[in-house]
Symmetry: C3
Subunit: 166 residues, 3 copies
């Protein structure tokens, strides 16, 4: 096994986990989930079958990534985030097609933020902690608030700018 699994984590034999990835306690990676190389999945993460996580991704504590969600390389996901794949969920209503949520390369999603189903967060964008993202976020965009508004841009190394850095 070329990845690390804490003895109190659950990883299904049919999950695909890349080399060098670390999966910590009380996490659960289901059949059909895809996780890339050199990721760090902290305690209590749940990755559903159909979810795709790229390389070098940091997933903090108690994060749920469901079917229909794609996380590209180098993304940071703060704690207590559950990606949504159904805008109007009802109990036991399963005959639906999941919304597709896409978090592009290098983006950072702050702790306890909400990203609604069907949203695209752009490359190296930054979503402030506790925000509720209801619209797509442009590349390098800095958004925060409820609902989240665009308040400028950030560089790859986290400096604020007025204009997109590219």
């Amino acid at each position: 096994m070329e990845y690390f699994k804490h003895e109190q984590a659950i990883v299904d034999d049919k999950a695909q986990i890349g080399r060098g990835t670390r999966i910590w306690a009380f996490s659960n990676i289901q059949e059909g989930a895809v996780v890339g190389e050199d990721c760090n999945l902290c305690d209590g993460c749940f990755i559903e079958g159909g979810a795709v996580v790229g390389n070098n991704v940091t997933v903090k504590h108690h994060v749920s990534i469901f079917d229909g969600v794609t996380i590209e390389d180098d993304v940071f996901i703060g704690s207590n985030i559950a990606f949504i794949n159904d805008r109007f969920p009802r109990s036991k209503a399963h005959d639906i097609e999941w919304d597709k949520t896409l978090i592009k390369q290098g983006a950072s999603i702050g702790t306890n933020a909400v990203v609604l189903g069907g949203i695209t967060v752009g490359r190296y964008a930054f979503v402030g902690a506790g925000s509720v993202v209801t619209r797509d976020v442009p590349d390098y965009g800095l958004v925060y608030g409820n609902p989240a508004q665009l308040h400028g841009y950030v560089t790859k190394d986290g400096k604020r700018t007025d204009q997109p850095p590219e």
Copy 2:
């Protein structure tokens, strides 16, 4: 045993669990908790003694339901929700009566939403993800924001309407 318990879930012998309910990993159902039939309790749920959950309820990941909270049939509870039973909590101040929170039949509570203690959420109402609910929600009401405001109504199958559908 007529319900399913993941081998890494904890269910107290004195919890009452209905037929056909599934309880997933890292969940903990305490003595005196009541959970109905055909529910799905995802990873990391905590149901305290005194909490009551009806039939056909979906409880997503890392949800805490405390004493004083009643969830009726057919409700959807999104991830990372902790129902509150004490409006002004202080550490180690236990000689209080818990607030009563009631989530009525068929309501949906979006991911990471907060419902303050003592609130009633009406039948088939919909609380948007990341909202903070500080007042009662009418039947079929669609509320979102912090604090949550009424923005219209939804039908049982999740379509928006200007007027209550009944």
Copy 3:
């Protein structure tokens, strides 16, 4: 052992835990973490090495306390809170100094609230559930909203007042 550890909790041998503290299921206390006496750490808590928790502290469910965070005596931490120690996190960017977050004696932090890195919350202050705290909170201050605003003061026993009670 003078503290209680649930059989499904993890406590590192090099964590320092005070007498009478209770650590519940699916929690993980790491090497170098310091937790005082008579605390109650509910299910799914994560205390990182370098974090300091005082005496008589209540930590509810699925709370993460990271390096750089200090919680003083008698504090109440609601569920689903992850303290932040890095204002602009990027995946795998570790060569930084953590922000210092300080929660002073007797404060209460409501469920699902966010306290940004580097913030000080004053003695017996109260942060409303679901709030996003972006500025320091004065002693006895009552703050809520996103971003959190000062809306008055609270006494030690949770009564609202217009002026600070001391």
